[in-house]
Symmetry: C2
Subunit: 634 residues, 2 copies
Amino acid sequence: MHKCPSGAAVLIPAMQAHLTNQHCWNSLPSPSVREAASMYSTAVAIFLVILVAALQSSEPPESPFPYHIPLDPDGILELSWNISYVQETIHFLLQVQGLRAGVLFGMSDRGELENADLIMLWTDGNRSYFADAWSDQKGQIHLDAQQDYQLLQVQRTSDGLSLLFKRPFVTCDPKDYLIEDDTVHLVYGILEEPFQSLEAINTSGLHTGLQRVQLLKSEVPTPDMPADVQTMEIRAPDVLIPDHETTYWCYVTELPQDFSRHHIIMYEAVVTEGNEALVHHMEVFQCAAEFKSFPHFNGPCDSKMKPDRLNYCRHVLAAWALGAKAFYYPEEAGVAFGGLGSSRYLRLEVHYHNPRNIRGRHDSSGIRLYYTATLRQFNAGIMELGLVYTPVMAIPPQETAFVLTGYCTDKCTMLALPPSGIRIFASQLHTHLTGRKVVTVLARGGQERKVVNRDNHYSPHFQEIRMLKKVVSVFPGDVLITSCTYNTEDRKLATVGGFGILEEMCVNYVHYYPQTELELCKSAVNDGYLQKYFHQVNSFNNEEVCTCPQASVPEQFTSVPWNSYNRDMLKALYRFAPISMHCNKTSAVRFQGEWNLQPLPEITSTLKDPTPNCPTGQAVSHTNPTTVVNWGRG
Amino acid sequence: MHKCPSGAAVLIPAMQAHLTNQHCWNSLPSPSVREAASMYSTAVAIFLVILVAALQSSEPPESPFPYHIPLDPDGILELSWNISYVQETIHFLLQVQGLRAGVLFGMSDRGELENADLIMLWTDGNRSYFADAWSDQKGQIHLDAQQDYQLLQVQRTSDGLSLLFKRPFVTCDPKDYLIEDDTVHLVYGILEEPFQSLEAINTSGLHTGLQRVQLLKSEVPTPDMPADVQTMEIRAPDVLIPDHETTYWCYVTELPQDFSRHHIIMYEAVVTEGNEALVHHMEVFQCAAEFKSFPHFNGPCDSKMKPDRLNYCRHVLAAWALGAKAFYYPEEAGVAFGGLGSSRYLRLEVHYHNPRNIRGRHDSSGIRLYYTATLRQFNAGIMELGLVYTPVMAIPPQETAFVLTGYCTDKCTMLALPPSGIRIFASQLHTHLTGRKVVTVLARGGQERKVVNRDNHYSPHFQEIRMLKKVVSVFPGDVLITSCTYNTEDRKLATVGGFGILEEMCVNYVHYYPQTELELCKSAVNDGYLQKYFHQVNSFNNEEVCTCPQASVPEQFTSVPWNSYNRDMLKALYRFAPISMHCNKTSAVRFQGEWNLQPLPEITSTLKDPTPNCPTGQAVSHTNPTTVVNWGRG
């Protein structure tokens, strides 16, 4: 099965018990505190030549790693990993092409190289070291007091080196990142020259970067594909990837004439070989049924040539982002497409991320749909939770963490959901550029019960559909509360809600079955109360917020003097004022009822953040009481 | 030195290394998990007789415990302790008179028996056990997963039992109380009968109580007394302690005619023997110099017979509370009293706490002043920081943790402090009944620099002068920020600032030297801005807060409809609006300058709560990097 090439693999002896098939090593240097400088020879270039020459080719071990992601746009670093939910541990395999003097890899809050949780592989020109480390506010590297990344194997490969190491999700080392279900900002760096000590390294001097990924993926078992499954690829034909950092490519295609109603039951990305690090995310949208036809556009989405009608191709059929695997619908449900009452037109959107401005690269990436004519028991649907796209919900400028909240009220779920409820199995969070966190919580009887989906490290640049680890049932009378946290430090004026890229959204697209008529369950503050707020601002500040009918809400927000009092009052208003509900069948058709001036849902108990359990191996625990003395008997 | 009576002391062997002079034991039962029920004999009464009979008298060990406090008003439980700041550990000696079936002792947030951190000594009628435990929200006892209280010795005494055990300040067990510098609410309970298991015990069925104390006292070395030191006792003559729970006794006395200027350099409590558990706190006040004489009153402070003029006896000379030891002034400073320009009249106030309504107890407790005619280099002074006593600072009803903040601004310290600054060496925090936390922070250059004094477990029933562990120097231009946190859950109307017991205060009396003219450095929100707030309340709610000149501020606060918006707006107002400063020589005389409509001090960086270090014995730590492989050489 697994060969042990001579002189190739090194295994640290203390870690031996954790490995099964890879008991290969030849030298066992005893661990040493060689932080102090050893005499550093000048011949760095020679050292590197020797290093590379000393490594012979060998076969990589059979891969037990289901997940892969390129870290850098040049494909020098590739990360593979697997997850043990039982041991709450991740094994990482980091493959490095053409290793120079070392690498760093790790995680940080939002991808910065300061205050990062790192592993370091470095050489002082003489010996080489591996350590669990951290970078401080200035980017300087320090050794962690507690070593939680365990190196399991170092192996040379045909074109570089591979490192195998593991880490618990939770380490309880205050210098370590807490690995949770949400987006993780991975950071990496390449060391071009030896360093005399770990403390001599500063991340600012290195070639570094970041990559976003969900590390702790849902491992719900995938249903078998039926015998009659068919596939269809929605791919842009031979796109010449533009040589600038960000391109959204739009391509319109259509289903065959007379294509009858089918169920999509799975889809996956098809990425042109060699472009893995350039294709950032892709989505397939279905166009609106109200238009008979759509122009066959193929070009950048921001092109002046793009027909306006393409704005009506917004209904998500499939979405993929870097690092995501195939998306399987639950075995009892599928997404209906084709047939009467639905548009034959589809729009593919591909986000190319080309920071190195690589030229001349051709691409035909896209999404492969797996579908069946044998309809499943339930249609799967998508429901939009969060905030209505309206300027009444606004974020003052210069805020680091301003929260806006949208509600799906009990009154709406009571009307629109079947008595047996719906089951949410996946979720896609969405904001524009200032979004930093998104969470949807389910409340019942005034009490928060569970988190539907949460991303405390949300990035608007990384929006993927995520399978939930546990399906969430929602019944009539339940409330769904979606909160988004925004950072407007770089804005000079208020950011209002709306469709524009410089406006904001707060949306959770939840995927569920059985499909209902409810497409939209969102809220916004009542406009009359917002006008009272503007009046109050005027009364306190003697400033001129125009409260005449001619002034638009964005204009009114623009003229608010943003002192701390007006900021705090706006927060208080959003926590207090009645809301207007959109409890809609489609974006234009409401369920019957009074939806204006609705009371905010009353929540009497909120969910607490779970206290992470520190790994049991690390904490001393006595569970027996101590016997004192036999009082009762002699 | 220390005798080992046969059959008396029991030492758990694992703890032996921690003891020095007390290696005495006769039986060493092996630790056992006798949680499961053993057959419980019915003869509880007989068991108790046997228990008491089995214990013979022995001498207590020589006391290495500088601190003592009775826990219960009947004097059944007495706690002694010492502190090792090097090991961050407290040794406790708990002495129990006439032990029945066990005791519990511990700490909780505010003295409640639920969610408490406990030690339990109990018997199942057969064997007896000691454990580190905790009580849940319902008062049920559970064993801690981590045992942090270590039992060192159990010894019978002539009239009961003594337990010696220790605990680190910080355990990092989430079920344990974090012992900090501030007030600690000790809880105790007496077990009257055996329990089959720890889990069978609920605190609600026990005779329990609480006692407040500062456990981590300042251990600043005490200066030697000069040869010419004299003493004077300020004691009420033969008070018959009233048989109700709370009495404040007032007694006026006077210094001898022609008593010249002296320095008080130390004082201590003199408590009548037998009344140690009844005398809760005592203060000596100097009366105002502006009145030539004061009536010689001797009676309850709330008596209708008490002359009004005693309200002018408010300048604190000495203050003692239960558990406090002698108070020493720094060797270079003393409090001036006597001589020209100061009143000869003193008022002693004694708070008797008599919850058992004991009758017929006589008392002559008081305070003994140590003073010298050889004046020290500096006069010590007291400065009042915090909020002006004015209704403009108010707390809405039904708040669990509402914060009010008072400022001593840079403008005032610039005017009033000498270039070499002042040194604060002690502090007494003060609020009325709803106060729960008090803190004063020093800021310099817009940045919070250090905590002057903080009590996160402050109780208005326990106000003692505390020596600071480190003297804090304050220079011209520094800002002192005093914040109080209030709980008004039991109030139906707003609580406004003022002198009344149902009104509130937020004060830190800081003791410092050299004395300056600055007696008061406090603030309150500007009244004009508060009126703007009332206008806003009206504009939003269409409610009637009278904003006419006839309405007093308390009346205005009473008519505010307290919804979340008005609460949040008031908080925002106090965070935003300009302040009026009292930068005063005495309560009536201001320093020259404009003190109205002052900007709030701008604070750009705040102090972070220190992360407590978990005890090193408990946490696994690796500090060495792991050597990977000798890349460079062969």
